[in-house]
Amino acid sequence: MQTTVLLQAQRTAVRIGAGKAAPELDGDAPELARLRAGDEAAFVALVGRHHAAMRRVARAYVPSDAVAEEVVQETWIAVLRGLKNFRGESSFRTWLFSILVNRARSVGSRERRTSPHEDPHAVDPTRFGADGMWSRPPERWDEAIDERLDAAALSGTLDAALADLPARQREVLVLRDVEDLTSAEVSDVLGISEGNQRVLLHRGRSRLRNELERRLAA
């Protein structure tokens, strides 16, 4: 288990480290082609593939899970109606999430959970000495995970932590790290600069890491 997790983490790192906006094949292309030919099963497969991420992103704008679910449904109806005009100039998922975000924003009451006084530090500053070096350093997780928790339990922690993130961080994190859009795609979908996107991503990731660390120490 532990080895698998770490190997996959390394693979992810290689892919992420390889740089932004690497032109990759649209993973939805096979189902999209079948959907255009009227295949219901292909439609349901696409819905299933993106459903969790769509619900999470929509939930960042609207006040309840039920409303988020409605926004997701309306998005798919809009996708079916607009399919013949979609020329594939962006990836399918970029198009899909752009529709979703537009709908969620117009439905949402905009009562976003913003936190103006949010801690700007990735790590509690008291964990560093006056020289800026670690005084309470992080432990290696490969041992901790093996002995105390499996990856499934950590996923539960992560899911809860994600739901708790400020809305702007959550939507970026879901699109970039959960749904695996490129940073350029995320910026397009949300209409923000890549720099702004990276700041939100960094805050979100740092918070999730902190939550995992707390869980592993418990």
Binding site: L6, T12, I16, F43, R49, A52, R81, W141, L154, H202
Partner: protein, 87 residues
């Protein structure tokens, strides 16, 4: 003035640069300084691994969570729209 002998990063700076490093958005020089620090600091190396694992675990949250009931509901929407000539 360009500082050819830039001071090494401190750990407290490394933790703020991790995402830019992983996203490939550090400058060449920053990247070299970042990697020089990581190579010599086991704690920051552990921290970097933790961030990678956090990202990896996030990537696994996209599992298909559609219930059978919703699956057939979406199928029905599709069939209805096709019958009404909307698609």
């Amino acid at each position: 003035m360009i500082n050819l002998f830039a001071r090494p990063y401190r750990c407290a700076e490394i933790v703020e640069l991790v995402s830019d490093y992983l996203e490939g958005s550090l400058s060449k020089r920053q990247r070299a300084r970042f990697e020089a620090h990581i190579a010599g600091c086991e704690h920051c190396h552990a921290y970097l691994d933790q961030m990678r694992l956090t990202i990896e675990l996030s990537g696994r949250l996209d599992e298909d969570d559609l219930s059978d009931a919703m699956r057939s509901e979406f199928g029905e929407v599709f069939r209805r729209m096709r019958e009404e000539g909307e698609i």
